[in-house]
């Protein structure tokens, strides 16, 4: 068929991606048991775990879900819009909760009444 422009990924690449995903999973589980310390109050273990998870998710989206090969621009637009929306929700919520006085729901410092006196 002349209109048929579908890309066929090689089996070798699929196996390579599969292997990377398995290695990523094992490394995530192992590295979680090693204390990587804290930097500026941020737990390095969490950052590493989420970084590996994002690499794994990217491999699945790009290769298994064929986003790398698609000629349809709308697919990429929807994907980017969805990720952008998710980051908006998570990052703005976190900056809100992180910047409150005592990190709780209370918008005022706990010794606020002492300030008034």
């Amino acid at each position: 068929m002349s209109e048929h422009s579908e890309h066929i990924v090689s089996a070798k690449l699929y196996w390579l991606i599969f292997l990377s995903l398995i290695v990523g999973t094992v490394v995530t589980a192992w590295v979680a048991t090693v204390d990587l310390g804290k930097y500026h109050g941020i737990d390095a273990n969490t950052v590493v775990a989420l970084f590996i998870a994002t690499c794994k998710a990217s491999l699945v989206v790009l290769i298994f879900m064929h986003v790398k090969y698609t000629s349809e621009k709308m697919t990429k637009a929807i994907l980017l819009a969805a990720i952008f929306w998710l980051l908006l929700l998570l990052v703005l919520s976190l900056t809100d909760y992180s910047s409150r006085y005592d990190g709780s729901l209370n918008p005022l410092p706990s010794d606020f009444t002492a300030w008034l006196a």
């Binding site: 879900m65 929807i78 998710l86």
Partner: protein, 251 residues
């Protein structure tokens, strides 16, 4: 010319100009749906993030009660199922019906294994009284989270003050309950997606067995595959967020 294609291709619906347009429309529809799925799971992930910030110690202690070995194993099972889905789409592209059906059957085996293993994990939580209902107890008994986690939970600081100790235990009971509520909501919604996925793939396997997919037309298999991979990605994030909050050796 268009008429000729409609007559030659029974799978081409009359409201599409050609097969390519029909395929793009179906694929786009699935991507839109997956976009709404990100919004759906995103809300729960956000709730998780905020509570994890507030009650980190309790979340870490509760996370340690999940089996790291089973969690890792189940993640690899799900990754295997994603590979077999990708391979079945490839087999359809190449017109290899036998391989296609074989890969789809393997997908069903992996998918059902994942759900089964999840069930075993949930049952363990039930026996430990870790399901947030009336028998919920993380302070004493078999499912005690306090034992071994005294330092992590700050129990050692209030040990000599019975009033403060009691207050802390009530807090631990309440805050770990939030972790387990989120754990069951997230893994439960994920499992429902898996069950729906297995249902879809039973139909797809049957269609593949009947020889409905050719190198020119295999759109149902392709978009069902997109759904399956998405459910896999959700788990790729759930695994570190639920199982690996804090697995560092306790000093």
């Amino acid at each position: 010319m268009e008429h000729a294609e409609h007559e030659a291709r029974p799978e081409l619906r009359h409201h599409f100009a050609d097969v390519e347009q029909q395929r793009n429309a179906a694929s786009l529809g699935m991507w839109w749906f997956l976009g709404t799925e990100i919004m759906f799971f995103g809300g729960m992930f956000c709730a998780y993030l905020i509570y994890r910030r507030w009650y980190f110690e309790e979340f870490a202690a509760a996370s340690r009660s999940l089996s790291l070995g089973i969690g890792t194993f189940n993640t690899t099972v799900l990754i295997c199922s994603s590979l077999t889905v990708a391979m079945s789409v490839r087999a359809a592209q190449l017109g290899n019906r036998k391989l296609q059906v074989k890969m789809l059957l393997l997908t069903l085996v992996f998918g059902l294994s994942f759900i089964g293993i999840k069930g075993i994990e949930w049952h363990k939580k039930y026996t430990e009284h870790h399901i947030p209902t009336f028998d919920y107890n993380v302070i004493s008994g078999e499912g005690s989270l306090v034992k071994g986690n005294e330092h992590l939970l700050g129990i050692d600081k209030v040990e000599n003050d019975p009033v403060k100790l009691r207050e802390r235990k009530v807090e631990i009971q309440q805050h770990t309950k939030i972790f387990y509520s989120l754990y069951f909501a997230l893994t439960g919604m994920h499992a429902i997606h898996m069950i729906v996925g297995v249902g879809i793939f039973i139909c797809i396997t049957w269609m593949a067995h009947k020889g409905r997919f050719t190198p020119e037309y295999h759109t149902p298999l392709e978009i069902a595959g997109l759904y399956w991979h998405f459910v896999d990605i959700v788990w790729i994030y759930l695994f570190p967020l639920l199982y690996l909050i804090d697995r560092k050796p306790i000093s």
